[in-house]
Amino acid sequence: MIAYAARRFVYGLLVLLIVTAMVFITLRAIPGDVVRVQLADSPGVTEEQIAQRTAELGLDQPVYSQFFVFMGGALRGDLGTSFQDNASVTAEILHRLPITLELGFLAILLGVLLGLPLGLISAIRKNTLLDQFLRLVSVVGISIPNFWLALLFITYLSLWFQWSPPLVYVGPFEDLSQNLVHMTLPAIALGTAAMASISRMLRSSMLEVMGSNFIRTVRARGASEWNVIFKHAGRNSTIPVFTLLGLQVGAVLGGTVILESIFSIPGMGSLIFESVQFRDYPMVLGCVIFYGGLFIMVNLLVDVAYAAIDPRIRY
């Protein structure tokens, strides 16, 4: 198991390296010169100044040598400095990471806490009106883009209740209630798709398991419906939900980029959004590495969870 986890971890690092390289190259391939974009507003910049700034940022080097310089730093935990204000990328990301983690966690929590019961109810009350309704809700939930949902929230809340999201972020340790007021809407907008797909997946796997022979054995033993559903059918049907959860974490992380900007939450999502606009390569790259690392770690956890749930899986 440990050997397997280690192998998966190394494999994950490799994937991360490849992703980094690809993003690195793509960023360089985007048309538009960073320095010109940055200095465009300041009047009277000379060509010399531009060349000097370019050299300062190391952008006059060939791409591969830029990459090696970057990777050399990255291995030491130094992701370079921001093109915007020369601040340390690592420090900036570490500063904003907890905010995004909180948002992502809330969204997934919401998805799981609502998605599992809804899927369960849907499966138990199969083909009733309630089930039809819940299935409709899931389909809608899966198809609505999260940013559009967020815009709906903002528009209608301000129209009806004259409420708009606070502009200043307050950390959960400073003032938890204010923090939650800020985070709840984006978390709902982000978690809806997760909730919908979890409930759909649970419904279908639950129905499949409920029809299987071993459930009949459990019933023939005289077990209560509670036992049938929660002990046997429940555990068997969560296995595919775990796979889904790993993927949903990816979707939620991606969603933070736009949602944080919409709700002015100063997390990694809005950081990446600003940095792309500013062609702040090191910052974008740093964020990508962190996002990728998170995703890989979550999926590693999912695999470990498999082994804990399903005795047939031995690595």
Binding site: M1, A307, A308, P311, R314
Partner: protein
Amino acid sequence: MTAPTLNGVEREVTNRPLVEATDLVKHFEVGGGFLSAKRPPVRAVDGVSFTINRGETLGLVGESGSGKSTLGRLVLRLIEATSGSVTFDGQDVLALKNKELIALRSRMQLIFQDPVSSFNPRMTIEQVLTEPMLVHGVGDAASRKARCRELLDLVSLPSTALARYPHQFSGGQAQRIGIARALTTNPDLIVCDEAVSALDVSVQAQVLNLLKDVQKELGLSYLFIAHDLNVVRYMSDRICVMYLGRLAEEGPSDILLNEPLHPYTEALVDAIPSSDTIGRAREPLAGEIPNPSAPPSGCRFHTRCPKRFEPCDHLEPELITVGAGNVSCHLHTEQAALHRHQDPPEHSLHGEDPQEGATA
């Protein structure tokens, strides 16, 4: 210890057997999973050698849990052997790379006890039958379809069956589809793991007839695993009897069942139920089934053998040739030793001599 050679003399004369398994071993690791301690491995198959000739059916019988299914899966390399070797038509199966293995798989197939659960319920019979051809890249769409009809015809099902789904067939029909699927790639060997056990007798008779007809027509070999000795006898040319991961006895089926040499085979034969023995309880073997993780010392059967004697609990009997078959029992090593009493004395019970099997 070297592998005992089966039919040692004959082999030189006839051509090479289709399958040759030598000293196959499969130990399953148990425990040592998530947060649990490791325990000694289950010795499911523990040094088994046998051959299957072309066009021949080798029956495999033995106590439940003695490693029959495991052996079948080892031959097809559906699981990796712990040690030993399998050659299929001269190729070393266990050394093959993935690609070669896939190519070889098309020549050996498996039929399960429960055909329906091995089919994807959402695939039509046509898809079920074409899938192996697609995997092995056989023919084009039209020729595959033609082949499907041909196969259904061979197993006496109407070609309207092609558009239907697995659950729409009875057990016997599903088993015929299982056979048809196994035949899609023109295999040389089919491992039938309890292929007729779940069928009722009248369908079983049909399927047995079908298997025999197909064999006659296509010259297939079968490794036929079953526990109904009458069925195995009817199907097989030779029978291997397994006990606790080892071969107890091997021989031509009629001889083996009429004059069993090994006490375990005897017990099996005595236990055959028949409707003639109405109301008569069979005498089951005494004693507990030993634990395959810690098999008994000496002869593995000694804890339950009614005929055990002095050497049995500490000396492991070798597989030696007696008459037309091979047996692993001290009753016969003793006799073999008696016949050889002119031999040098060190040649007796320990049997280090690789020639021993062949000369007996």
